[in-house]
């Protein structure tokens, strides 16, 4: 078998709503290799959350999978019986959510929650407790043995997020999905979490799918990046290629907007005027066309395909097609 762990292959997902079908994901393709950190960047409404819930198959009742496959170790998750899927979640694929304040059960001690999630293990209670303490130590919680008996409210936000990471890694998953795990935290804690994730990734050798809208965090942590806009992948590739030589106007302008690299006080900060198109009533052609300052007649006529430009660097823009640029 190849070293590919997760393959998203032409995935399209709709939500059925009163206004008609909302086309939340369209033709999404990318893969995650073993032991690799892949970042997904995109703004509100780009489909990041739908993508995660589709991978885990934790979708709302009005979700319709229109086409495509989510292959994990070669097996299409969308076809698995629910029983098998349950066995996968939390064991082979685990997740860290955005809000550390709401991740834990407030009425159970941290230790109890860490014992509960080992329900599949045949180890004794004492062994499970030792394992829980060891994991807390691994994410840098001081005095882990004693703190197992404390409740979530006795920990700070940064600690709770680290506990969530410890719990997600306890089963030594092959894939960890991190959904904006640092958004709710201060910059200083954000850095602590990123550095901790990097260390743990090396130690456990799991792959990480890291979702964020913070470009600085993505640049620091990830090996490869997938850029999403309005339910589609517009560009993907090696993190250096994406940040130093973006091939889609959206990626380029998103990076320009980040005030982190504007070192002098700017009178006017760059923005991307306009709004994301209505996904229930999609315009024809390229979805970014209305906000793009390089749009051409062809962009209105045809949807640009996600094409490989060079090794592993893909972009969906007509500007990269020679014949169109003329």
């Amino acid at each position: 078998m190849s070293d590919t762990l997760l393959e998203i292959d032409r995935l399209s997902v709709d939500y059925e709503t009163a206004r008609g079908d909302l086309r939340a994901l369209r033709d999404i393709s990318f893969d995650v290799r073993k032991g690799e950190i892949v970042g997904i960047v995109g703004e509100s409404g780009c489909g990041k959350s739908t993508l995660i819930s589709s991978i885990l198959r934790l979708t709302a009742p009005n979700t319709r999978f229109r086409q495509g496959e989510v292959r994990f170790k070669g097996e299409d998750l969308l076809q698995l019986p629910e029983r098998r899927m349950r066995a996968l979640r939390g064991a082979d694929i685990s997740i860290v959510f955005q809000d550390p304040m709401q991740t834990h059960n407030p009425v159970l001690s941290i230790g109890q929650q860490m014992l509960d999630i080992q329900h599949r293990s045949k180890a004794s209670r004492a062994e499970k407790r030792a394992r829980a303490a060891q994991m807390l130590g691994a994410v840098g919680i001081p005095d882990p043995e004693a703190r197992l008996d404390q409740f979530p409210h006795e920990f700070s936000g940064g600690m709770r997020q680290r506990i969530a990471i410890a719990m997600a890694l306890m089963s030594e998953p092959d894939l960890l999905i991190a959904d904006e795990p640092t958004t709710a935290l201060d910059a200083t804690l954000e850095v602590q979490i990123i550095e901790r994730l990097q260390e743990l990734q090396r130690e456990f050798n799991c792959a990480i799918l890291f979702i964020s809208h913070h470009l600085g965090v993505i640049a620091e942590l990830c090996d490869r990046v997938v850029v999403m806009y309005a339910g589609a992948v517009v560009e993907s590739g090696d993190v250096r290629e994406i940040f130093h030589d973006p091939k889609h106007p959206y990626t380029r302008r998103l990076i320009d907007c980040d005030p982190g690299h504007i070192k002098e006080r700017a009178r006017v900060l760059p923005t991307i005027p306009g709004e994301v198109p209505d996904l229930a009533n999609l315009p024809g052609g390229c979805i970014f066309r209305d906000r793009c300052n390089q749009a051409m007649p062809r962009c209105a006529a045809e949807v640009p395909p996600l094409t490989q430009l060079k090794n592993g660097h893909h972009a969906a823009c007509w500007l990269n097609h020679k014949e169109a640029a003329e």
Partner: protein, 307 residues
């Protein structure tokens, strides 16, 4: 005379002294940023200024007049001059009111019956670059960025002299964050507004603030012009905060200064310098308590400042 003069402001909730003496001034037309980690007391400072949080000691002077401990009745006319922008853009708008009612509510509260509310709503929406037909919408029909603009419009309704903005860009996408900051910069210049902005996003501070104060455990530890602080941070805590800012460049190798642990509990304030236990530059002298010292307009509370 400063527009706002906060002196030795102290707030305790029971045993927990959240603000342990905060002093700063804001001049007319100036933007002042308060920066610090969660729990450093930033939000309590501006809530105390607006009379929304208690402050047992110290003084808050607005245009020379003491307003700390003012009753709601005394505060009400002042709310024309001091407007507040709250942190959660959608949560701060009543879901059952239209945008028109929301942004013209200040006129009703102040009993300004002579105003044409439709015309005012139109004028305010135009000011924050929203189309006039948004007046008939409800908060749930707005995006996060649009809700923020409504928050700005409402804050501007009574033509205040001072805006207190709590994390004005939290939760916004970068493309929209720029729009909001440009709008605030523009309004400030056109209307001569002064602002106090609270944020932990240092990238934002650099572009909007004239001066900034860095808070730790309910006290200022450094204060100066934004330029000076970004160029030459003197307090190790400031330096740590600045270096914790991830850069949108995979090849940027930051000289990151690791901040040890997390802020100590306010119930067990450390002796001596309160930052000492986490400080990578701590020295023996730091077991003594540092005093607030001002040199060339740059304030500092540190016994072993960086060069």
């Amino acid at each position: 005379m400063s527009l706002l003069d906060v002196k030795d402001l102290r707030t305790s909730y029971g045993q927990v002294n959240v603000l342990a003496g905060v002093s700063f001034t804001v001049e007319p037309g100036e933007t002042y940023a308060l920066v610090g980690e969660s729990g450093s007391g930033k939000t309590t400072v501006i809530r105390a200024i607006a009379g929304l949080a208690p402050a047992q000691e110290g003084s808050v002077k607005f245009e020379g007049r003491e307003i700390r401990g003012a009753s709601e009745r005394e505060m009400r006319p002042l709310r024309k001059d001091i407007a507040m922008m709250f942190q959660d853009p959608v949560g701060s708008l009543s879901p059952r009111l239209t945008i028109r009612s929301l942004i013209t509510e200040p006129y009703r509260i102040q009993g300004m019956k002579d105003r044409d509310l439709d015309a005012e709503a139109k004028r305010l929406l135009e000011m924050v670059n929203l189309p006039a037909h948004f007046a008939d919408r409800y908060p749930y029909q707005l995006s996060g960025g649009q809700a923020r603009r409504v928050g700005v419009a409402r804050a501007l309704a009574l033509e205040p002299k001072l805006i207190l903005a709590d994390e004005p860009t939290a939760g916004l996408d970068v493309s929209v964050q720029g729009e909001l900051l440009n709008l605030m910069n523009d309004l400030r210049e056109r209307l001569g507004l002064a602002m106090v902005i609270i944020t932990h996003n240092l990238n934002v501070v650099r572009h909007v603030a004239d001066r900034m104060g860095i808070m730790y455990l309910g006290r200022l530890v450094e204060e100066g012009t934004t330029e000076a602080i970004f160029k030459h941070p003197r307090h190790p805590y400031t330096r740590c905060l600045l270096s914790a800012n991830p850069e949108p460049d995979p090849d940027a190798r930051l000289e990151r200064i690791a901040l040890k642990g997390e802020p100590p509990s306010l119930l067990r304030r450390p002796k001596g310098c309160e930052f000492r236990e986490r400080c990578p530059f701590a020295q023996e002298v730091c077991s003594q308590t540092p005093q607030w010292e001002i040199e060339n307009g740059h304030g500092l509370r540190c016994l072993a400042p960086l060069g």
